[in-house]
Symmetry: C2
Subunit: 385 residues, 2 copies
């Protein structure tokens, strides 16, 4: 998966020409991730989505800019935590502070999406929401936006929950899969299927079977639906959450001081919410879920190793950012924020250097970086977390 | 070669009892090394011999202390460069400033030894000099001192150049070898041989043949001779150097301001000296060279990999100094002067971290660290050199 990260030439003109950039389409960016897998660059105040690890711009900036031809800043909302809100505001200056929905505490995606749906619906009863993680990379943004526009058209027309299913490129065991059923309809020339089932992360042989069948796609956590429809479905499948959300008055809280952590109603509500994902809480239980297959060079950048996969390597296969000298070394990912990093005779390593900490990791063990974070927590090294 | 670095129990009492700690025995420590192989810890002002890389004490401190039961500080001389003299003085406070012989510029070992011989001879016409590199490790200091004392006895009795030949423990291709000839004599119960030949670094098969024959030892650059004898031999084999040295008046220069770089006679003399090693310039040309075989856990710590060999590893085979977290990693050498270093899933690596630079090196490529230094020189990165 070495797709270029930026779309060089292809234009989004057809989106505008065909009027798909609908004025009721809102972007909801979920930016609540803790990002322990990107230690030592990421930390509590600077999780992965707030870091410039794929390009010179941060991942949340890339996410917002990727939507720009389709959704202007005035219709983009970010759900985030109090620790990160100031930095989000700094990185996305085109957003009004009222467009930041600040959760007092993380409760997984269903409450975050419910909160956003209430806010969006209050501002626009006809709103269609595109829900997007803040920390994914998209190699072909035009293909992505074209799919998003088609999904928005479907969601505007039908009371359904549309998921984007990423066309799989390998028998990956680290993702959930969406199984397509019958064709449900055609919008903007794209076929939508009913979702037959959601599947948890499979074992290797199951994943291989999925790929062969051609009916399975990766679940990227990218969804499109009317705000009113998802609120209705939350009411049907997560009635407790719906009741708690109903105690909030988005307009009122907003008028006072924005939906901030300080909002007493929000804090009280979140204290009573049980964490649950939108996938498990709603999508897997609903019979109104569609999937649109999309091939857009998606990568969730789930680890330093995944970052290596999306960056263009030099002739030795190295991806080097910052002050680096590489001698006889191949297929290394180096990212330094300060100290010079010198490599000698090493292969397939990840080296991340900050002024306070240095990570040296075998690329194939990049998922285990969280063990370092756990060990630092055990040692009480809050200075490095 | 995992010998302990410190001799725990064996006493040097027999040395004193047998009167071998001769009052005419002087120690001459050569501390002119630039230490590029220990970048980024070593640099121009702090070469390897001035760093605490084997123990908590610096290598030159270890070298001086190792001699203590045999040679008191008052008879220890250090040949070093102007850049390092202040730090040498700081690290060896028992030495008088006049015992530091400061070369205006490095000219390899023959001039350094000639200069020291003149100085030592001026202070004690009967002096026997033990010449010792400042940056070697000795696993069994008692065995080392016993050999040194025997060599001193031989050198006091005979007008010969005694080399210590290190009993080889492997077919090393990185060292020069000393080939033993006929037995030359016995002193302090030890057999001394004539040197049949010096051999440059051999190829693998030659090194294996050397080891099998049992007649070859590593040349460690450790020599014992009377100051008057080495001066005589320099006169015979390096007459140009001898003439230049003869223009110096050690007593006079010393009286003024010590033999410092500022000494105008010394600076003028060194400007005219051609660099040459004592091995090539004198030992290989002389017919008065003896060798005493010694097995003392010698290691020249020629690279970070060699340092790993002399340090006691933990249960995972790691040697970790400073603030380190190791997850699923084996046989690593980590030395950090500041930043926390975290290892994940790596094996046989060397990681050295300072506030300004981080080295990540495959242990088997540790000799290539000099290429980093060369590259930094090319880039003009004097901040890191």
């Amino acid at each position: 998966m070495n797709e270029p990260l930026h779309n060089g030439g292809r234009s989004d003109e057809h989106l505008r020409r065909e009027g798909r950039g609908d004025e009721h389409l809102h972007g909801v960016i979920l930016a609540g991730g803790l990002g322990t897998r990107f230690w030592p660059l990421s930390n509590r105040r600077r999780p992965k989505q707030l870091l410039p690890i794929v390009s010179k711009r941060t991942m949340i900036q890339e996410t917002a800019e990727r939507l720009a031809p389709l959704i202007p800043p005035s219709r983009i909302w970010v759900v985030t935590g109090a620790d990160q809100a100031d930095e989000v505001a700094r990185q996305l200056p085109a957003l009004d502070r009222s467009q930041l929905l600040i959760e007092p505490v993380g409760r997984n995606t269903a409450p975050a999406i419910g909160l956003a749906a209430m806010q969006v619906a209050a501002s626009d009863p006809q709103a269609v929401m595109a829900v997007l993680p803040a920390d994914h990379a998209i190699g072909d943004p035009t293909a992505f936006r074209t799919a998003l526009a088609a999904a928005a058209e479907a969601a505007a027309a039908e009371p359904v929950l549309v998921t984007l299913g990423i066309a799989p490129t390998r028998a990956e065991t680290g993702y959930g899969y969406i199984e397509s059923g019958q064709v449900a309809g055609t919008f903007a020339g794209r076929k939508f299927h009913r979702v037959a089932a959601f599947h948890e992360k499979p074992d290797r042989s199951t994943a291989e079977r999925y790929i062969e069948s051609g009916r399975y796609a990766w679940n990227a956590g990218i969804f499109v639906w009317r705000a009113s429809v998802i609120l209705d479905q939350i009411g049907a499948h997560l009635p407790d959450l719906a009741r708690i959300l109903a105690t909030l008055d988005p307009a009122g809280d907003k008028k006072a001081e924005g939906m901030t952590a300080a909002g007493p109603a929000l804090a009280a509500a979140y204290a009573r919410i049980t964490p649950i994902s939108i996938d498990y809480g709603v999508l897997e239980r609903s019979s109104h879920v569609w999937v649109l297959a999309v091939d857009c060079g998606w990568n969730d950048i789930g680890s330093w190793a995944a970052l290596y996969d999306v960056r263009a390597p030099d002739s030795a296969g190295n991806v080097l950012t910052g002050d680096v000298v590489a001698v006889g070394s191949e297929r290394a990912l180096v990212h330094t924020e300060g100290p010079l990093v010198a490599l000698v005779g090493v292969e397939d390593v990840v080296v991340i250097a900050t002024s306070g900490a240095v990570l040296v990791c075998a690329r194939e063990h990049a998922q285990e970086v969280r063990k370092v974070v756990e060990e630092l927590e055990r040692r009480g090294r809050t200075d490095l977390l």
